[in-house]
């Protein structure tokens, strides 16, 4: 049985909702990079890139390691969790469907009761 943490998945999806952050992940999938490397590649300020890395770090998609004055970024432990993420989205969709289905069944039951009364 797979268990899911909604808060963690929320953090992942929030982190991945931004094009720059997705680009950073793709970049880090190819090779580790320092924050200043990334800032250069994505044409942003160091401060701007630090913020993006912070969000990715919080979602555990990226880990960083500071050696001397250079902070190196690499992919974090969450990168292999696509199965969990997929199952969770699949599950959420079905929970929503089942919620609507509850309503349809409730309506059918009501209708049967009314029809039943009419027949008597």
């Amino acid at each position: 049985m797979v268990h899911y943490s909604e808060a963690r998945l929320d953090a992942s999806f929030a982190a991945l909702s931004d094009a720059t952050r997705r680009g950073v992940l793709e970049q880090l999938g190819r090779a580790e990079a320092s924050i200043s490397d990334l800032a250069g590649k994505f044409h942003m300020t160091l401060t701007g890139m630090k913020k993006h890395i912070g969000v990715l770090e919080q979602a555990e998609l990226v880990t960083t390691d500071k050696v001397g004055r250079v902070r190196t970024c690499k992919l974090g432990p969450r990168r292999l969790e696509q199965e969990t993420a997929w199952l969770e989205r699949h599950r959420q969709l079905w929970e929503a469907r089942f919620g609507e289905l509850d309503q349809v069944i409730e309506d059918l039951k009501q209708k049967e009761m009314i029809d039943g009364r009419k027949k008597r």
């Binding site: 992940l25 992919l75 990168r79 696509q82 989205r89 699949h90 469907r97 309503q103 059918l108 039951k109």
Partner: protein, 172 residues
């Protein structure tokens, strides 16, 4: 989990999810009604379209054709937030009212899963078991990696692609 506003939450029961084997995904959920009504909601297009594409997911059903008999076909077309339509289609392998439905999912290029849904009534409630059997471990892995089973939108499919890429490069 937070309940959405204006919905009856009192009788909602959670579903259980399990990747039962390398090829199987099993979902169970209890509904507060007799099996014949739950079965009806799965087999009559006018009822089916009321719940298959939840608005809370930005989904809307564009067309829903269901020829519910052995060998009969179905085709569901829907879109997410006004994006280009997506289609699910296949045919029914078994139709046993009100207890069992089996269909193929043919939208995948090379052999999609077979879905079996059973409806078991007990004391006016119905236990629904949905079982998805994929042709191979690779097929289920691939469905998971591409997000193709749910078709809830290009954005998510892209996200899956990205995650799959990341997973692949990490495995190297």
């Amino acid at each position: 989990m937070d309940a959405r506003k204006g919905e009856p939450t009192a009788m909602k029961t959670p579903s259980t999810w399990e990747r039962k084997s390398e090829r199987e995904l099993v979902v169970t959920r209890t509904f507060n009604g007799p099996a014949r009504l739950v079965f009806e909601a799965w087999t009559k297009p006018e009822l089916f379209r009321r719940w298959w594409t939840p608005k809370s997911f930005g989904l809307s059903m564009l067309s829903c054709e269901m020829d519910v008999r052995v060998g009969g076909g179905y085709r569901l077309e829907f879109s997410k937030d006004g994006s280009p339509p997506m289609a699910f289609f296949g045919r029914y392998l078994e139709v046993t009212p009100p207890s069992r439905l089996v269909w193929t999912n043919d939208e995948a290029d090379h052999g999609g899963p077979v879905t079996t849904v059973t409806f078991e009534e007990k004391g006016g409630k119905t236990l629904l078991v949905m079982h998805e059997l994929h042709p191979s471990k690779e097929a289920l892995d691939e469905a998971i990696a591409s997000g193709s089973c749910e078709g809830i939108g290009e954005t998510l499919a892209q996200l899956d692609e990205l995650l799959a890429t990341l997973g692949a490069s990490a495995a190297r």
